[in-house]
Each structure stands twice: as C-alpha cells, then as structure tokens.
C-alpha cells in the first residue's frame, strides 16, 4: 500500500541517454501502465523503480520514502519478469517461499501465505511441481504468486504477458487486473501492447524516446491525444493524419480537393497550416453526399468490421473502419463523412494538439 513518486528521473548508460527527465505520481492502489515502442525507455523506468538500476539524476519515492540508494529487497516491491524468472530447480512451493525465507519469516506464516496465494491463483495442485512441468500460463501464475506472498507495497510487471499465446494473454490480462484490484496494491505494468494498456490501466503513461508523451486515463489518450505520436500510437488501425490548413475564418479544414467543416469554428487560428487527425472508426459511409470521396484500394475483412485502405483526391492514403456487414467493392468510390466531434487538430511543426479556444482559455 503505497504511492510512488518519480520526479525528474534521468538515466544514462554511458553516452546513451535513455530517460530524459520523467515525472509521474502513482496513487496508492492505482494501476499505471507504461506504454511505448521498444527502446523508448519504459523497461528502464520500471527497473529504476525496482532498484535493479540506479538513477543518474532525479528521485524515486515509494510510500513517501526516498529509495534511490536502497537495494531492491529493501524497497518493498515485487516484480514479475517477462520470462517469469522462476528458479528452475525449485518446486513451485519453494519458488514462492524463497523470498519469505530470506526475510526470516516464521515457517507456519510462510506456509499460510503460500497456500493462500496458491489457492487464489488456482495453483494448489501444482505446489510440488518444478517449473518445467508447468504450462506457460501456470508459470505466469507462479511468478505472480511469488509477488503476492510478499504482500509488497508495489507490484512491478515487465511485459509479463508477451510470452503467452493470444487466448491465454487475454485471460491472464483479466486475472492480473482482478487480482490487483482485489489486493488494492499499487501496480506498474510495462507493455508495448496498446490493448493490454487500455484494458489494464487506471492511467497510461505513454513514453517516446525517454520522455513522457502523455499521462492520462486510457480513454483520455484515445479521445484527446496530446500529440500526433500519441494519436497514432493509440488506436488500431492508426489515426489518419492529413496535412492542410484552416480557411480564413477558421471554420473549415482545407486541402486540395478536400474541405471539412469543423464542429466549432476557430477564428483565431484562421489560415494557419494544421494536421488533421481522424480515426478510421470515426468515418462512416454517406450515400453520395459525404464530405469526401475516396477510391477503395484494399479491403481487410475482419468479421465484425472491415478496414478499407483508400486514397482521397490528391493521393493521400486514408483508412476507414466500417461495420462488417457494409458492402464495399474494391476500386469503387466510397463517400464517407467524419463524426463531427471526432476531428483532432495538431500543429504540423511541433506535433502538439491545438485545443479548442474555450478549453484553452479556461486553462
């Protein structure tokens, strides 16, 4: 039970700057998912919290206590590794009990905790097995069990689901979330999979090249991405980005052969170049009177829905996500209309979101 505070944390490996100043407050009992492409520094941040690496600059607090110079074992954390890192020569029971024994806990207390965790995780029948006699999902559970028995202040998860097959991953995702909520333990979960991030997180921290791109509730990142990076990272298929400019009154987005009315006019931004973002799922077919027409290229039919790879006039590629039942013919022309409140405007140079003036004034 503890909050985690990361302030101004930097990490350099020799000349390589991996983290360039990260600030985040994780509330007690919250599940924070650190999301990002590989090499963005997300695992490094987790390892810094765990104490497996030392910070170059900045401060990490767990439960109000500065832990910069503490060994991992003294930080009151437990970690689930990507490849589980179970001790291959120990039985499941001993794997879970090892950390407790090292802390000199009484035998019957260890026994009680291990049996209790095994019951929660459905491992009661496997306590006498060695890790190699277990399936991937069971090993995953043992790794979780090793954390639970410790009753730590913070759970750290380093891409724990990436070695599982798709069905099991979905199941374990749910189990981890339920368990973390039930134990009300603060959790930090690193992943590169946005579905995991969206489903597990109370808040997501999206990282890019050692910096925090955006922190927020999953649906905030989806609905109001702060940058084009966030916009294209969250959501699948990725958001369409179209380069253009606003007309003089700021009421319409203009581009060669394309003109889209904005839900609220932005007179102050009139005439400036902008990047327009539209999610493929925010475009719906309009019978001949749509805002723009596109030539249908490839169609990927996924069952419940289908993804249309098209080109608008001017050759700009555009993805549209349509209900599976809608009939689309390749090489045909498709008219689509964007949902009015689903247009995102970004500065083409900085990639930052251009907010509605009302909200900006309020802020």
């Amino acid at each position: 039970m503890a909050e985690v505070t990361v302030s101004g944390v930097e990490k350099r490996f020799g000349p390589v700057e991996v983290l360039k100043g990260v600030d985040v407050d994780i509330a007690d009992g919250e599940m924070l998912v650190i999301l990002g492409a590989s090499g963005c520094g997300k695992t490094t941040l987790l390892r810094l919290i765990a104490g497996l690496e030392t910070v170059t600059a900045g401060e990490i607090r767990i439960g109000g206590r500065v832990v910069n110079d503490l060994e991992p074992k003294d930080r009151d954390i437990a970690m689930v590794f990507q490849n589980y890192a179970l001790y291959p020569h120990m039985k499941v029971y001993d794997n879970m009990a090892y950390g407790l024994r090292n802390r000199g806990m009484a035998k019957d207390e260890i026994d009680r905790r291990v049996k209790e965790s095994a019951r929660i995780l459905g491992l009661a029948d496997f306590l006498d097995r060695k890790p190699r006699q277990l399936s991937g999902g069971q090993r995953q559970r043992v790794a979780m069990g090793r954390c639970i028995v410790r009753e730590p202040a913070v759970f750290l998860f380093d891409e724990p689901l990436s070695n599982l097959d798709a069905a099991l991953r979905g199941q374990m995702r749910v189990e981890i979330r339920q368990l973390q909520k039930r134990l009300a333990t603060t959790g930090v979960f690193v992943t590169h999979d946005q579905v995991e991030a969206m489903t597990l997180a109370d808040r997501i921290l999206l990282m890019n090249r050692g910096r925090v791109e955006q922190i927020g509730a999953p649906m905030d990142l989806y609905r109001r991405p702060r940058t084009t990076y966030v916009a294209t990272f969250i959501g699948s298929p990725a958001m369409n980005l179209i380069q253009g400019h606003l007309d003089a009154t700021g009421a319409r987005f203009e581009r060669e052969g394309l003109s889209i009315a904005l839900p609220t006019p932005r007179p102050r931004e009139g005439g400036r170049p902008v990047t327009l973002g539209i999610r493929p799922e925010d475009l719906s077919p309009a019978n001949g009177t749509g805002e723009f027409a596109l030539r249908v290229g490839l169609v990927e039919r996924l069952g419940a829905d289908q993804v249309v790879f098209g080109d608008v006039v001017g050759g700009e590629p555009l993805l549209v996500r349509l209900p599976g039942a809608y009939s689309v013919v390749e090489n045909d022309t498709l008219h689509v209309v964007p949902a009015p409140d689903a247009l995102h405007l970004f500065d083409p140079d900085t990639g930052l979101r251009i907010d509605e003036e009302a909200t900006r004034a309020a802020a």
Partner: protein
Amino acid sequence: MIERTRWLDWLAHATVLIGIAVVTFPLWLTFVASTHAPESFFRGLMPFWPGGRFLENYEQVLFEGVQGVGGAPVGTMLANSFVMAIAIAVGKIVISLLSAFAIVYFRFPFRMLCFWTIFVTLMLPVEVRILPTYEVAANLQLLNTYTGLVLPLIASATATFLFRQFFLTVPDELTEAARIDGAGPMKFFWDILLPLSKVNIAALFVILFIYGWNQYLWPLLITTGDQMTTIVMGIKRMVNVADSTPVWPEVMAVATLALLPPVVVVILMQRWFIKGLIDTEK
C-alpha cells in the same frame, strides 16, 4: 542420408566390433595374467583364459605387497591415490566455481585481465612449470605430504572457463529475481547457481578425478617415502625390480585394482556425466 543396405550394416557392425576388441583386449589380458601363477609366463607365451590363482594373487598384493619388491602395500598406494584424486577434483571444482562466479557476477577493476590471466595458464601444464613448482614446494616443506601432491595441481583454467561459460547462459532475470527476493551474492551462489551447475559439476568431477588419479610425473618428484607412493607410481616401480624378473601376475593384479576406482566413479556418475555432456538443462 546414408542408404541402409545389408552390406553397410555388416561393415558398420564389423567396425564397431573391431573397435571394441582393440580397446578391451589389453584389459582382458591384464585380467587373465593376474589370475595365473608366475611360472605360467616363463615360456614367453600368454594364456588366453583365466587361471586358478585369482584369490591368491589378489590377496597377496592387497595385504602383503608384491613379492620381491620393498615398499608400501597396495592398499596404502590405493588410498594415497584416492585421497589425491578426490582432493584435486574437489579442490579444482571449488576454486574454479568461485573464480568463475567472481568473474561473471562482479564488476571489479582488471576483471577481464584476471580472466585472461587464468585463461593463459592453460598454456602452462604441470610438465612445463615442473622445476619452479618443485622448488617452491620444497621450500614450503611440502615434499612427501598430501598438500604437496595436491596443491600445485589444484587450480584449473579449463574448469573456470567451463563454469564461466555456463554462468553466462544463466538468464540475468534469475539474478535479478534473487536480488528482489532478498538473496545476497553468496546466498544466490549457494541457493541458485550451485544447484543449477549440478550437472556440470558432476561431469567435471569425473574428468578431474581421472586426471588426478592418473598423475604420474608430479607424484614421482614430490614423494620419496614409501608411505606416500601413489598407485600409478607403484606399478612402474614393481616392473623395475632389480636382478630378477617382475612377478607379472601380481603386477597385473595391481594394475587391475588401479583400474577399479576410476571405473566406479564413471559408473556412479555416468547418468549425470552424459547429461552434462549432451544437454544444457534450462
């Protein structure tokens, strides 16, 4: 894929049988010779089948020593060899485990220099450094002691290298998990690294035991008294008797006895040994 034909099968079996015969025939002769009376060899011909003096010959060498040769009874020699071989094998394993652990898991100045220094000593087997080693051992009053027999042979670059390579294959996450679980370096070594190295240790033990058992040159130099004679030296001495023919049946009985401990070690450790050679257990 090699084609299977009757002719090839025959050839393969014949080759294997010839190979086995080449290896086992001398062993058989040794055994046969150890079961005859000394007179059986005077005509210069070897009998092919065992004779009737098995018990007498072995009793003689084990408890009274070989006839016509002074020196320790064979039992003492066997014990000396056994102590030396065990001490060398265990010592080499302990030392190389610890040095490999230091090299792989700790960052200290000149770490790689240390590793390469150890590695370079591979080029300096006992025979090369035998005179200075003798000088040192003599100055330290180690002549005619077990310490003197064992100590100069106890460091092993090969074993250090093997353990280093093995430790490098142990996933880093395991080390980190142990750190989080509150295991200090030596606890990690004892609780996790050592059990994982079990198979490698067993395999090395067999190899090193035989290496120790078969030492000849160094024991020959370092020991002078009969009480410290090892079995390999002893056999040589029995053959070189002055002014008479060696008592071949008894010499052969000693040779057969000298074969047994390594055989026992190999058989006992066989399962682990083979496992260590062929698989790297995850």
